[in-house]
Subunit: 339 residues, 2 copies
């Protein structure tokens, strides 16, 4: 078990991140230029292979073991009427994950990935953060440790996602605290709240920002005060993957917001992360822009569960298959010179 | 063997297209609404399953057999210096396809698809269309028939693509003839031509439009005069798939331009076609807009070979896996009512 004894201990870990292997990335670029295609004609696929190489530290990256990690948590802020679905749905959906009936079960299988679901104290929701910090330091650090420990050193790639009724409100509050703009900039419809609910959600976020004004300069304190257990776990998993040489695929708005405090602590802290997609949740595009993350897909999805992240995996596999399997101009006897 | 005895015979086939099975699409929407997720939260994935259902005519679509068809041809217009690579590369790349060394070999395998490559008289390039029609009616119809016959009635999905040094010039000329705007709107860098080459390419297209002004009102005559054998085959394959109840995934600029005359002949003629991606080739985005096709991916690719089309297949498989494999709210005991 990894454990961080204090926020200061966690902060130190967040500030001492490995930089990735630039030579592995360069080696990929050298081979890429020799493959039988016009230079750069595979576009983003070529960049993906270089990124895998850098963060795996391998000149020949691999995707033999891909883990999809879904963290689930419950939120006291649901008492404020911010979600279209009742809080019981979190437990019900975790059971659905176990039974194999959810979207992520199908998507993980289609991606050739292992699905692991971690439910974080669903019977003990976080506090309603309009009136108190969502978590105290110990609870927050326990969530971070759960995520950190969920990342196997044997994984070649980790996809992160979440389930938690109410958690788009927590995510929007974190985004507002980190990047400004208040509830009107970051609140979206989540699972499908109506106009009145959306207005309430914006007010809830603004109230939370006012309540926790004293800690808004500290990204980890923001994650504890406004986040949730599953968001803390995503932060911990993102950190662990960086330290263990494992690239990460982030899912949608909640997942991105959960990892965002790392980027506020240290420039480049999410360089080992790929944004799988931009979701239809209102704040996601702006959040990705704030983080300088360029999403791979834009398919109007807004489900969570790591669904977008898992959907990106076949594209990464295809990119890698091209790099590893294509012939060079010399091998194939194809002219690589202007005619 | 399918054969069209005349352009009039082909035109009649193009004007008598089946409309697709709306009831199959509706049945998919009914099931989709019962699955354990917020309504519409899988975004484009849900629409894809409905589209498969409509054009396969099946309430439970399948992707058991996916064929990737790549057509190759040579172009007399290469004499005008419009390509960065010599015309011999077409033959060399077809050999590379046979040896398994090209990008499409890796991408088709990753997609679980069968790759079939048809080389169309590579030793007999089309005529330089700045001075004569690229093909006479018989040659054009032979190309169309090759593509038409390449579509197996047993396929559940067909991905189309091409290889042909010089064919972005042909594609741009077709796009200009169908949608206006001349060489400056439609010419791109193809395999990587420089600024002088690009200016020459624009002039070549404008010269071809002037040379063939008399036929620019007839989409099939445009395809014969300005296209190429592999583009004719793509048109034929797109037509055959529609007639046989097989959805089509189109690749990039050349592939889209090859199918575009069908849409000019009959509204909705490409409704059974999905645009896999928008390529980095200059004219592709505008061409997709003219055709009201919304590309699935935008990854800066510009390779051809059906590479973008094959890359889209895993996304279609994932969409279908969700639809067929997910539990309903009732099956899973998940609340589907507002809380």
């Amino acid at each position: 078990m990894t454990s961080f004894s204090s926020l200061a201990d966690l902060r130190a870990a967040c500030l001492g991140l490995p930089a990735g292997n630039a030579r592995a990335e360069d080696a990929v670029a050298v081979r890429e230029a020799q493959l039988t295609k016009p230079p750069k004609s595979l576009g983003r696929l070529e960049a993906i292979v270089g990124w895998l190489a850098r963060w795996q530290g391998r000149t020949r990256p691999r995707l033999d073991r891909v883990d999809v990690l879904v963290f689930a948590g419950n939120h006291g802020v649901t008492a404020q009427g911010v979600s279209a679905f009742p809080a019981e749905v979190t437990v019900q959906m975790v059971a659905n994950f176990s039974a194999g009936g959810a979207a992520i079960n199908q998507l993980a299988r289609a991606a050739g990935a292992n699905l692991k679901v971690a439910a974080l104290e669903l019977g003990r929701p976080t506090a309603d953060f309009t009136t108190a910090p969502a978590m105290d330091a110990a609870s927050f650090l326990a969530g971070v440790a759960t995520g950190h420990d969920a990342v196997s050193p044997d994984a070649d790639l980790v996809c992160l996602g979440e389930m938690g009724i109410g958690n788009t409100t927590a995510a929007a509050a974190i985004a507002a605290a980190l990047f400004g703009g208040g509830g009107s900039r970051w609140a979206g419809r989540g699972t499908g709240i109506d106009d009145d609910g959306l207005a309430r959600k914006q007010q809830v976020i603004d109230a939370a920002l006012a309540r926790h004004a004293a800690v808004l300069g500290d990204p980890l304190a923001i994650a504890a005060a406004l986040g949730g257990r599953e968001l803390a776990a995503i932060l911990g998993a993102t950190l662990a993957a960086r330290r263990r040489g494992i690239p990460v695929v982030l899912d949608g708005f909640v997942c991105t917001a959960a990892a965002a405090p790392l980027a506020r602590l240290a420039d480049g802290a999410l360089d080992h992360c790929l944004a799988a997609h931009v979701s239809a949740e209102a704040g996601h595009r702006a959040l990705l822009q704030e983080l300088h993350l360029d999403p791979l897909l834009d398919l109007g999805m807004r489900l969570g569960e790591a669904s977008g992240a898992a959907l990106a995996v076949p594209l990464l596999r295809a990119a890698l298959a091209c790099h590893l399997g294509m012939a060079t101009f010399a091998e194939a006897g194809v002219s690589d010179k202007p005619g």
